[in-house]
């Protein structure tokens, strides 16, 4: 496996998975919640506390970085995935692909 370096960080929680996905382009807090909500058809609505905690952790791990902080009265911070975050996400995608592939096996027994 080429992504061995990231294996210790896997699996990602669903929240982290979708947050990383939502910051593949610069995105701010409320935008992340909206985008994740749309992607999952309203199934996953991130709570403000969950998102705040995750952003703090991801920033500390250098998986995401602050892209811009608007100057002036409204300080909307935007976040962007880093190369490292991208690496972790791709390793997770590989893991999930393996899961999905193996999941096919269940069809052989169900008639």
């Amino acid at each position: 496996m080429k992504n061995k370096a990231y294996e210790k960080d896997l699996p990602l929680t669903e929240a982290v998975f979708y947050i990383l996905l939502a910051v593949r382009h610069p995105n701010h807090g409320y935008g992340i919640i909206q985008e994740v909500g749309e992607m999952t058809g309203g199934r996953l609505v991130l709570g403000a506390g969950t998102l705040y905690g995750a952003i703090q952790t991801l920033e500390k791990k250098h998986w995401i970085k602050v892209y811009s902080a608007e100057e002036g009265s409204r300080k909307k911070k935007e976040y962007l995935i880093t190369d490292e975050g991208m690496g972790v996400f791709k390793a997770e995608r590989e893991r999930l692909a393996e899961l999905l592939e193996n999941a096919q096996l269940i069809d052989a027994v169900v008639k």
């Binding site: 929680t13 929240a15 403000a48 969950t50 905690g53 909307k76 911070k77």
Partner: protein, 229 residues
């Protein structure tokens, strides 16, 4: 309108604040157990309580983030943060998964443990003072003992909540059967403290009755706690 309440359990506090808001009273200030409410439309606000990162719960980053979410920081008290949002903006839940809920309870647990250790240390000091002959030290010792019991209960309760959530996640939490300590013990200590403070004002027979009552409560509470296991 002002109400006096003491909550150590943030879930119970949240439920109470939301019940008040549902009845048309929005909490907008807190000071040492005194909650101030102002009239609002019934069910206009939804309240949540967050435990911030570090000793001070609210920093600029947190405040900006919550503002962006349409969440108002009503009051912060150390790491304890009371938040509210208009109900019209949809259901207001702080945490959307088990992991972040566990994280929060772990922070609360750490806080309770810290307070417990400090209180316990104070208790030892006061008992030492009492043994050396200070009457006021015994009063303080009784009051602190009552608080120590409450906090040991909160630690047990919070641990149980964490283990419940871990089980919900599919993890196998350690066996945990610790029972809560009966609050009658706390009450016994409180009555004894009152008895000691007011010893000159209370007539003698009543003082013996109160002393008996407090010892009785402490003993009965201890037995009750022991029998629960």
């Amino acid at each position: 309108m002002t109400r006096f309440r003491i909550y150590f359990d943030k879930d119970e506090e949240t439920r109470w604040l939301n019940r008040m808001a549902k009845n048309g009273y929005a909490m907008d200030n807190f000071f040492l157990g005194f909650y101030q409410f102002s009239p609002c439309e019934k069910g206009e606000w939804q309240y949540q309580i967050d435990i911030g990162h570090g000793f001070c719960g609210v920093n600029d980053n947190y405040a900006d983030f919550m503002e962006e979410m349409g969440v108002e920081i009503v009051q912060s008290w150390g790491p304890w943060v009371i938040l509210r949002r208009k109900a019209a903006e949809g259901p207001f839940e702080l945490f959307s998964d088990v992991d972040s809920r566990i994280e929060q309870y772990k922070k609360i647990l750490l806080m309770f443990k810290l307070v417990f250790v400090i209180e316990f240390f104070c208790l030892a000091l006061e008992v030492y003072g009492g043994v050396r002959g200070s009457a006021m030290a015994w009063v303080a010792a009784c009051l602190i003992a009552a608080v120590v019991v409450v906090f040991s209960n909160m630690i047990i309760r919070t641990k149980k909540k964490i283990y419940e959530l871990q089980e919900q996640k599919g993890e196998a939490p350690p066996e945990y059967n610790r029972q809560q300590v009966s609050l009658l013990i706390s009450m016994g200590f409180l009555i004894n403290a009152v008895n000691l403070i007011l010893q000159d004002a209370i007539p003698l027979p009543l003082r013996y009755i109160m002393l008996g009552l407090s010892i009785g409560l402490i003993l009965f509470g201890s037995f009750k706690t022991a029998l629960r296991k």
